[in-house]
Symmetry: C2
Subunit: 392 residues, 2 copies
């Protein structure tokens, strides 16, 4: 089996950049990732591009990658445009890795970009309904008590998850605030994070309520950004000494029949392919589009037993310096969540961690790292989940 | 290297079906392809889904495959949503094949679906602009002499190709009409074709003009449809005796720098990987979104020398019964062109041909078959090209 490695990464700062186009953000991360990989553009044989909302928000459909790469040194390289809602970035990584394993390409670049700020306020929130089943949307809105055009129902969905989790685990709103506060503290150390202010548990609790137990700092913001990674199957690459092994990259889809298992089952397969156990993980990036998801995912991944995540977070185990730091980047709530870029941004963070180049956020001695990325909603579960295992 | 085979195919009739949803068309072709493969749904490990315009035309974004497969026997199978404009279907085939080669899946299903009919007339034509560079669209419209909102500029682009080709080859409008007439005669034999009327060369010439040398029967229509294929790397599959080898499936992107070579170069790589020469091809499906493209592609693929395609078509070489039948299915102008389904529909036709199951359209003794699929426009060339080689 080919040993696939990440030899270079690049990432813009995440945030609201009304004047930056996807094209500009793509150019920035392509240059950064190639420079980091010390690789000539000519050696890249394919590009996998993750984006979710360009069609809805800008009218740019179907050949987005080709359009945005035009004018970069990667113009002319075969492009695959990939979507899986918020899990699009990881899905693109999985496809790029597969091409290298198959021997169809020696070096590929995987790219995620999202432009969510829009002159028309609320437009991105409405676009999010596109990641739900359109035929069932009216029924879904009713069941969530939402009016049409009231914006994205995703935070309502997360509030439902939160309420169910509180019931079965005894977790409190304060627990969720504690995770949010921890991630904002992590994000304060991340120069690429959208938010860089520390927030106390009390400040998170006192912030503007969104819905259910969620307040604003517990929810991922609207933002823009891009991230990229260069994958290689060639042992001769110049940047190999700083490279990171991409042990597995597995995508699952959650639809009716066995929806409640989608994240757990995807993680089980990713760990099995990588030959690791949950206890081996040194550092973790999880998809906390809302803070309660961090608790649920820790249990789904087997890092905490049922109902044990709140105690783990309370004990500081998931804080940088703790037993298994979770979201050292700040996570989605602090680093930001430009949808198509999020999966790649998780890889960016974990590569920096495994190289020992994460600066103030460094998880000492990290050797095995995992990213969990999820997206879309079919009711009652995510439509796509992705788990990636990296190692030094 | 794993021997990848197509063991089952399914396809709806193409046409205008205002009352059919993508979900219904998907259910039909999933059932048909699995039945044809004599395979239980449980054995499919991943699904690659090609669609272009659901976001623009229905608001269904990003997790389209998961939504449409929900309720089918493939609910719960990992899904990758893939886009490359009109070449999306072939791009999905390439990704599915790669997964089998990499050993990540033994059996995958590749699916293309498009719903273009829309209650609002002209909506699908306008959506097509999404497959062009949005930032350059105003300039492109000006250079083509188009007003904003006048519909898709794609036929203007094909008319430009046609004029340039006429100049360098001496081809005439009558030549293009001859290819269209030939394809409509082929389509008349295809129960799944959108149009099933024979049209004489004179009738094609006398039909309503579209732009430049193009008349309506020389242009692919708006339509709905779906097609699917089951790929396997397992030699134990029950349907193996009727299976077809998928020798290569290569995707190229045409952007500035070397745009004029995108189809030729993609074909060269596909033929090299498959170990064939242009002269080995027994039957061919090409992307005749407008009839002049058939001439240009025959030359790009090396089946005709520069400027020789008109003589080849005039001699009947590309008609069923001729030396190298081209578009026995009727091609895009007669069979139809529901964008995301087109690449898979080409595979459907060629699998039937290689099995000897194409009935009145049968190309006798066909052993090696090639599909050429192209899509999007960056100016001056397609943004994506895909060439697939199949063999008995």
């Amino acid at each position: 089996m080919t040993d696939v490695r990440v030899v270079g990464v690049g990432m813009t700062r995440f945030g609201k950049f009304p004047d930056l186009s996807p094209r500009q953000m793509v150019a920035e991360v392509v240059d950064a990732a190639l420079a980091d990989a010390r690789m000539e553009a000519e050696r890249i044989e394919a590009v996998y591009v993750s984006n979710v909302f360009a069609a809805s928000l800008t009218g740019q459909e179907s050949v987005r990658g080709q359009v945005w790469l035009d004018g970069t040194p990667l113009a002319g390289v075969p492009v695959f445009n990939v979507e899986n809602a918020c899990a699009s970035g990881s899905s693109a990584v999985a496809l790029g890795r597969t091409a290298v394993v198959a021997g169809e390409a020696e070096n590929v670049l995987v790219l995620g970009v999202e432009k969510m700020t829009h002159p028309e306020k609320g437009r991105a929130l409405r676009a999010m309904e596109g990641a739900m089943d359109q035929e069932r949307l009216p029924r879904l809105r009713r069941s969530l008590g939402l009016e049409e055009g009231q914006g994205s129902p995703f935070m309502q969905v997360y509030a439902e998850y939160a309420r169910a989790y509180m019931e079965r685990s005894g977790a409190t709103q304060e627990d969720f605030a504690r995770a949010a506060s921890k991630n904002h503290a992590h994000g304060a150390l991340n120069p690429r994070a959208q938010f860089r202010d520390r927030l106390s548990v009390e400040e998170v609790l006192a912030a503007r309520p969104v819905t259910g137990p969620l307040t604003v700092p517990m929810c991922a913001p609207i933002g823009d950004g891009a991230a990229a990674a260069v994958l290689t199957g060639s042992p001769a690459t110049e940047a190999m000494s700083r490279s990171v092994r991409l042990l597995s990259s597995v995508v699952g889809s959650g639809v009716r029949g066995r929806p409640e298992l989608v994240v757990a089952e995807t993680a089980r397969r990713a760990f099995e392919r990588a030959g690791i156990e949950p206890g081996d993980i040194d550092v973790l990036e999880v998809h906390d589009a809302a803070s309660p998801a961090e608790f649920i995912v820790l249990e789904e991944l087997g890092l905490a037993g049922p109902g044990e995540a709140p105690a783990m977070i309370r004990a500081g185990d998931t804080t940088i310096g703790g037993r298994v730091p979770v979201n050292p980047s700040g996570g989605l709530v602090s680093k930001g969540h430009p949808l198509g870029a999020t999966g790649l941004a998780q890889i960016f963070e974990l590569v920096e961690q495994l190289r020992g180049e994460a600066g103030a956020r460094q998880v000492e001695g990290a050797r095995i790292a995992v990213a969990e990325n999820a997206g879309g909603y079919l009711g009652p579960e995510p439509a796509a989940a992705a788990v990636t295992v990296l190692a030094r």
